[in-house]
């Protein structure tokens, strides 16, 4: 598809679909919060966790829109700084997983034979234990902390990309235009670079978009359990975990970080859906 037509199609689709526009809006908002965070927060020093016990656990007010937490920090500030952390972590995990998985998948799909068997069996192995459980096992082995949580999640995530890339590469390999390129004498690497990769890229982009949201949720989940970020890091999941001990009386504390997680995941999911309708319309599956 010509680039200009694709842009037109994208614009038309986003105008037409409320869901996709909403997704784009949410993602833009989160990205802006992450970028501008440190400069727009009302109480910058609260981000790192200064202690101000006299102002602790205040309900939402004009001074503190989201109230304060158990050490007196402004929750709004911490949530916004948390956006930066979550987004970076989410993007980092997704890109790392794709960087490992996609080349392996394309290799498996194009090489075939023994190479493919080995790679696919290894992939199946990692997929044999459901995501969060495997992540917990890995973090338990490596030790809690946000870095280890990220490593664990990358290890949980990369197989999905191998599968996707492999199936795409496999189907493209069968296409007649690949055969004619090969017959015309094009070297394998060139075929890979110029033909296989560009045609596989669309579903991978769609998946990455949705995965960023899922990765944010996964990190927050690990944080909630207590295996991810450690206080005083303003990570959304960890904040909810602490907030839990202050339910039900100081209930607002738990609401806001969770709402932000929800908004992020929703945004990336909707964006991914919208991208799929534009880039890969035939594979519209739930």
């Amino acid at each position: 598809m010509a680039a200009s037509r694709r842009m037109r199609l994208a614009a038309w689709h986003f105008r037409r679909s409320f869901a996709s526009s909403l997704g784009l809006g949410l993602v833009t908002a989160i990205v802006l919060l992450a970028l501008l965070g440190p400069w727009i927060v009302p109480y910058p020093d609260h981000a790192a966790g200064s202690v101000n016990l006299t102002g602790k656990l205040q309900s939402p007010s004009a001074a503190h829109w989201f109230g304060t937490d158990e050490v007196g920090n402004d929750i709004l500030t911490r949530v916004i700084i948390g956006a930066r952390l979550s987004l970076l972590v989410g993007i980092g995990i997704t890109f790392a997983a794709a960087a490992i998985g996609v080349p392996l998948g394309i290799l498996a799909g194009t090489a075939g034979g023994r190479v493919r068997e080995v790679i696919m069996r290894l992939t199946d192995l990692f997929l044999s234990v459901p995501g969060l459980v495997l992540a917990i096992a890995l973090v338990a082995a490596l030790g809690p902390g946000i870095v280890n949580a990220m490593i664990a999640l990358v290890l949980v995530w990369w197989p999905g990309y191998v599968r996707l890339a492999e199936s795409k590469a496999l189907s493209i390999r069968e296409e007649p235009f690949i055969e004619s390129a090969r017959v015309a004498g094009a070297p394998s690497l060139r075929i890979l670079w110029r033909h296989v990769l560009p045609n596989s890229i669309s579903p991978i982009i769609v998946k990455m978009s949705m995965d960023i949201g899922q990765a944010i949720l996964a990190v927050a989940s690990l944080g909630f359990i207590g295996l991810g970020a450690k206080p005083p890091t303003p990570e959304w999941g960890a904040m909810i975990s602490i907030a839990r001990s202050y339910l039900p009386d100081w209930w607002w504390y738990a609401i806001y970080p969770g709402a932000f997680i929800y908004a992020s995941v929703l945004g990336f999911n909707l964006l991914g859906d919208g991208l799929r309708d534009i880039l890969d319309p035939r594979s519209h599956r739930g």
């Binding site: 869901a19 069996r121 199946d124 192995l125 990692f126 044999s128 234990v129 459901p130 995501g131 969060l132 459980v133 495997l134 917990i136 096992a137 890995l138 973090v139 338990a140 082995a141 490596l142 030790g143 809690p144 949201g213 949720l217 927050a220 989940s221 909630f224 359990i225 207590g226 295996l227 999941g237 909810i240 839990r244 339910l247 039900p248 209930w251 738990a254 609401i255 969770g258 709402a259 997680i261 929800y262 995941v265 929703l266 999911n269 909707l270 859906d273 519209h284 599956r285 739930g286």
Partner: protein, 335 residues
């Protein structure tokens, strides 16, 4: 057909072996000394050395692996540092609770997911479709732990309709377990009071757990129904005058259900993952909570045990789904 079955079973066996290798590898990639891990965070020097000998950690790796496999074959998962009990016994104690929760959640997800998906496809682009689609998208994005907390606050604390946490009242004696699933046991024994009480405790966690599954099934079913309704064979059936009711419920739905079935295995895996979070929120005494509390306490063996059990369970479910698929699709039946 037989060949397909045999192949599937052989593959499953291979995967099981792979799973055992995987858990063994994880246990050994820990930067910490495995003996320290086995002995627990509060262990002293002599205890660590004792653990080392007891678990054969001073032997070479291949020997350790063989011992690991043989231990597993005997149902020996090691010992939990925190509880002092055998991990295997703990797993047997906690697994039925998780199983009951997941089964109920899956049932809710299937029943409502399929029916709402079907309705959504039928009334495509009308208000019902829009509402259910918004519901579906939110369902997948909602953090289970946050949603659980909200429901807890709302229904249990503020409205007081349902209990906050746990599986059964502290003073209630559930009696000898028949299946280990309280709801089923209550029905089998005709114990109405136990049934009501179990239901009130399991309702909130099951709802929270079922939501992503419901949402996902709804989406897939809707999209499959839309595809099926567009198919040529539906056009032909319509040209032949088949009644619209039958067109939807039999001709189209049957074709839509197959891919829906295919994702059930995956959804079950997700559910097992999410159960960790839901059990934590609701203090549900299942293997998820067991794994979490062990992991935080630095108690390693239980985590490994849970990983193995969950992996095994996941594999079994996928095997059953594959076999079911093979049985239900007449094209595969004769292949």
């Amino acid at each position: 057909m037989l060949f397909y079955l045999l192949r599937r079973f052989a593959l499953a066996g291979l995967m099981l072996f792979g799973l055992i290798c995987l858990t063994f590898t994880i246990a050994n990639i820990a930067p910490a000394d495995p003996a320290v891990l086995a002995a627990g965070p509060d262990a002293g020097r002599s205890q660590i050395e004792q653990a080392r000998r007891e678990y054969g950690l001073d032997k070479p790796l291949p020997a350790q692996f063989l011992r690991y496999v043989s231990d597993l074959a005997h149902g020996e998962f090691g010992r939990s540092v925190a509880s002092g009990r055998s991990v295997g016994r703990d797993l047997a104690r906690y697994f039925p609770a998780t199983l009951e929760l997941c089964l109920l959640a899956m049932t809710i997800g299937l029943v409502f997911g399929i029916s709402l998906g079907m309705l959504s496809a039928l009334f495509k682009d009308r208000w019902l479709d829009h509402v259910t689609r918004i519901f579906a998208v939110s369902g997948i994005a909602l953090p289970p732990f946050w949603f659980g907390l909200l429901l807890q606050l709302g229904f249990a604390v503020w409205l007081g309709w349902l209990p906050t946490s746990g599986r059964i009242g502290v003073s209630t004696e559930p009696g000898e377990p028949i299946t280990g699933l309280l709801l089923v046991d209550a029905v089998l024994r005709g114990d109405g009071a136990l049934f009501n009480q179990s239901l009130s405790y399991i309702l909130l966690p099951a709802l929270v757990l079922s939501l992503p599954c419901l949402a996902s099934i709804l989406r897939v079913n809707r999209s499959e129904m839309v595809e099926a309704l567009r198919a040529d064979y539906i056009t032909a059936a319509r040209a032949h005058g088949v009644s619209p009711w039958r067109l939807v419920t039999v001709h189209a739905l049957k074709n839509a259900l197959l891919p829906t079935l295919a994702i059930i295995g995956l959804r079950w895996g997700w559910m097992m993952s999410s159960t960790v979070l839901v059990e934590t929120v609701f203090d549900w005494p299942g293997i998820g909570l067991y794994a979490v509390s062990s992991a935080i306490a630095g108690d390693f063996k239980p985590v490994m045990g849970v990983t193995l059990i969950v992996g095994l369970n996941f594999m079994l479910v996928n095997l059953v789904v594959d076999l079911l698929y093979g049985v239900l699709d007449p094209r595969l039946r004769d292949a």
